[in-house]
């Protein structure tokens, strides 16, 4: 794939044709806040923190850079007054939703939000970025968790907020969460996800060199068509 050239805040950078704007901007050193993007997962465009202005046909429009495809010769502005103003307001809304979340407070400082949110505070811990549900679906391939409800009352959870039967305990949801909302209790022989109401027995894996949930090993063996016992079967025969 040939590269394309785009002009960002007056500077020319290159990007791969198949890329969207955000990874190209980040790679070129632009500091763009983003909370619902992960390069392994399809762009979702939900947090709207990564907004930039794109100029086309003499008009500038505000777009989410994580989802916007690059094209040759495109002109982008990342730091205009308009973008800064909208970004601050978005952070203010997030801060009112999650006033106690450290990552959101840090973000508020980074974007220069100097005052407390002007909206009544709520006490949510999750920003509904959808990274956990998408990781579980797209990367792990089990869809153990999803969004429940709609609009302002939306939450992330297992179906009917009941114990998940399909969760394999891989912890991907825990690792991708940008605000550390997903709880994972990882002990020597057991791993628990209190919010998903599940717990997993852990077994030794020689290849990984540590104890991991048994169900996770089974799952990955199955989808990767790995011969039975590959994970456990250690050259040294250690268990």
């Amino acid at each position: 794939m040939p590269d394309v050239t785009i002009k960002v805040d007056g500077r020319e950078i290159t990007a791969k044709t198949e890329e969207t704007l955000l990874p190209a901007l980040l790679a070129a050193g632009f500091d763009i806040p983003h909370m619902c993007y992960n390069e392994e997962i399809k762009p979702y465009g939900a947090c709207r923190l990564c907004i930039v202005e794109v100029e086309a046909g003499g008009r500038r429009s505000v777009v989410s850079s994580c989802s916007y495809p690059v094209s040759d010769g495109m002109v982008v502005y990342t730091d205009t007054e308009r973008i800064k103003k909208h970004r601050r307001m978005i952070v203010e809304l997030l801060l009112a939703r999650c006033p106690d979340v450290k990552e959101v407070r840090d973000l508020a400082r980074d974007v220069g939000l100097e005052h407390e949110p002007r909206f009544a505070k709520r006490d949510k811990g999750c920003i509904l970025c959808g990274l956990c549900t998408r990781a579980c679906e797209q990367v792990v391939g089990v869809s153990a968790i999803s969004f429940v409800g709609r609009g302002p009352d939306k939450e992330v959870g297992t179906p009917f907020l009941d114990r998940s039967d399909v969760c394999i305990g891989c912890g991907s949801c825990y690792y991708v969460c940008p605000v550390n909302y997903v709880e994972m209790e990882d002990e020597e022989d057991v791993r628990r996800f209190p919010q998903w109401k599940v717990e997993f027995e852990k077994v030794w894996c020689e290849r990984l060199g540590r104890k991991v949930p048994k169900k996770m090993l089974e799952h990955f063996s199955k989808i990767a068509k790995i011969p039975e016992g590959w994970f456990e079967g250690s050259p040294a025969g250690k268990k």
Binding site: S67, R118, F147
Partner: protein, 630 residues
């Protein structure tokens, strides 16, 4: 079972036969069988007509036609008799025998069944003379009155499928796209994107498969033009989709209909079956080598599914959540394939453009908005219903000439165009032309064509609050500005209407509204601040009165008003006391005033503030204007 129409020659032969058959009737009674009229028992009226025509031996000479909506639903049941054009409203089965013997047989007009113009108080005999109809420019809706939605021959008789025949036999895909582009048709569903351009993008996108979608997920409360077209003239929508399919090279189409529209689903379903039997859908249509078929999809009815990308997710069986654009559906839509989505009204316009020509279509409207637009006119207006007008007509003409003005001689205050997320335009904008770009410039939008008229008893802050409440409940909750921002606007407005608005509220609303408008993911969020931003712009003094003076000028916001009796107007009739649900309106010991004179026996009334719940029942009940709100 409809007979198979093997090719275009046979189609034209059948059209001629249908026309001749129809000429055999001396008169036609077209009775509306739409959803609105169903509520008034139109099916019983239709049955009564059928029985009566048979009884009076007229079944051969007079055709009874059950049609779709005529747009004037509040007058249901209604019928038009052709060719005399006599128009009867609010008919019941009991009126039918008289209509047949007096009007159909003897040509006499039955005064009692004629429409009374509320403005002039005069009876109007002919449909074409009724102000509500006279000032419209009815193309789509004229057809609704001329066909039985389940009768393919009716549709052929008005020239149906000639556009599709031309598209399939004589035109290349490129020619069709050029025609639609030249017509200037823009999407009637909301954004007003040029239809031909959309088709062009879709057709130019490399792909083995492409799809066509008809969006019939009309989610605006009170709007029902798409329902009425689908119910009344489903063949036109089918024909439009065939033309579109040929233009972009699609073999399959979907119609996404809300579940709440059973009659639309029924009539469309019946029309699809008939078209299929006739060979107008399916394999090798009219022996042209082109194949296309349509599936009906019944939607869950979430407001956000009307947004194209949300609709696509929903058709594919996923949560109806919007996705960021680009990629646009025309590039990557259903199952990742290029997909053209247009709404019902847009599709219904397509056959006319093909049969009457793109120049004819482009001859109507303004520079950048062509053709007609259907609006659903409701609120504080004399004539409510569906109105079809040429683009560029002024708001004033719609409100006063077609809508007949404001009831009770009250003053016009605002008109909201474009549905719940449209802006509210003041009197000073009434002479502006209605088209896509002008409405946007004024801070509102065409949307799908909702139009709510408000009078001087409407509080604009309350209106903005009402719509923010609706929209916050309809937000899908995916993106931050809309999910978090709209409920915040609602909360700020609620405080203002409760007299607790702070001095910073106006600036904060403005700032927040701009972010929600510019930074939301989809058009639902992007347009949702319109009611707030437009009222801040045009009715700022009302906000200020609420915040600074703790006063609701329109007398609506309960926390800021009191009802009281104007003592020297009160005749002591007691109407207020009878309707008051909390016994707050009571007689005093003081004499009442009748025609300026004090009467000792009649007692002036008063309202005990502690008991009053501000329901407004007394003010409606008082015939002497003796109750005031402040």
């Amino acid at each position: 079972m409809a007979k198979l129409i093997p090719d275009v020659k046979a189609l034209e032969a059948l059209r001629k036969k249908s026309l001749d058959e129809r000429k055999g009737y001396k008169q036609v009674i077209a009775v509306c069988g739409g959803t609105g009229c169903h509520a008034y028992g139109c099916m019983k009226v239709i049955e009564a007509f059928r029985a009566e025509l048979a009884k009076q031996g007229l079944a051969k000479d007079v055709r009874l036609r059950t049609t779709g909506c005529h747009g004037f639903c509040e007058m249901g049941s209604l019928c038009i008799i052709h060719p005399s054009d006599i128009f009867y409203v609010k008919i019941t089965p009991e009126d039918v025998a008289e209509v047949v013997s007096e009007t159909v047989k003897a040509g006499k007009v039955i005064d009692r069944l004629c429409y009374t113009d509320p403005a002039s108080k005069k009876k109007v005999v002919k449909a074409a003379e009724v102000p509500f109809y006279k000032n419209q420019h009815r193309l789509l809706f004229a057809q609704n009155g001329m066909v039985d939605p389940k009768d393919l021959d009716d549709y052929l008789a008005i020239g149906g499928f000639s556009g599709a025949a031309a598209a399939l036999c004589d035109l290349k895909p490129r020619d069709i796209i050029d025609k639609i582009k030249a017509s200037g048709l823009r999407g009637r569903g909301g954004g007003g994107f040029p239809t031909g351009r959309k088709w062009e993008i879709c057709a130019s996108h490399e792909s083995d498969v492409r799809y066509i979608v008809c969006n019939a997920d009309e989610g605006d409360p009170g709007a029902y033009m798409d329902r009425s077209i689908l119910e009344g003239n489903p063949f036109a929508v089918i024909e439009g989709m065939i033309v579109g399919a040929k233009a972009i090279g699609a073999a399959h189409g979907y119609v996404y209909v809300r579940n709440e529209y059973p009659l639309a689903v029924e009539n469309l379903g019946a029309a699809i079956v008939k078209a299929r039997e006739a060979g107008l859908l399916g394999e090798d249509i009219l022996k042209t080598g082109f194949s296309f078929d349509i599936t009906i999809n019944r939607g869950g009815g979430a407001f956000v599914c009307g947004e194209e990308t949300g609709l696509i997710s929903s058709v594919m069986g996923l949560t109806g959540e919007p996705n960021p654009k680009p990629p646009y559906p025309a590039q990557r839509g259903l199952w990742g394939k290029p997909t053209v989505i247009n709404n019902v009204e847009t599709w219904a316009n397509v056959p006319m453009i093909l049969s009457k020509g793109e120049k004819w279509f482009a001859g109507m409207g303004t520079a950048n908005s062509k053709g007609t637009k259907v609006f659903s006119l409701v609120g504080k207006i004399n004539n409510t219903g569906l109105v079809e007008v040429p683009m560029g007509i002024t708001l004033r003409k719609i409100v006063y000439d077609i809508g007949g003005g404001i009831p009770g001689g009250r003053k016009f205050k605002a008109v909201q165009t474009g549905g719940p997320s449209g802006g509210c335009l003041p009197e000073s904008m009434l002479d502006s032309p209605v088209d896509f770009d002008e409405l946007t410039k004024m801070g509102s939008m065409m949307g799908s064509g909702g139009m709510i008229v408000m009078d001087d008893r409407t509080c604009m802050v309350d209106v903005a609050h009402y719509f923010m409440k609706f929209l916050s409940e309809e937000s899908c909750g995916k993106c931050v500005p809309c999910r978090e921002g709209v409920p915040r606007m609602k909360a700020i407005l609620e405080d203002i209407t409760n007299g607790k608005g702070s001095d910073e509220a106006i600036a904060l609303l403005q700032e927040l509204g701009e972010t929600v408008r510019d930074a939301s993911l989809c058009a639902l969020g992007g347009t949702s601040p319109n009611p707030v931003l437009s009222t801040l712009k045009y009715f700022r003094d009302e906000y200020e009165a609420h915040i600074r003076d703790k006063r609701c000028p329109a007398g609506v916001c309960k926390a800021l008003i009191n009802y009281s009796v104007i003592e020297d107007r009160c005749t002591g009739c007691g109407a207020c006391a009878r309707v008051c649900p909390t016994q707050a309106a009571v007689a005093t010991g003081r004499p009442a005033t009748v025609k300026g004179k004090k009467h000792d026996k009649l007692k002036a009334h008063e309202i005990v503030q502690e008991k009053c719940i501000k329901c407004g029942a007394c003010i409606e009940a008082c015939k002497f204007d003796a109750i005031k709100v402040e």
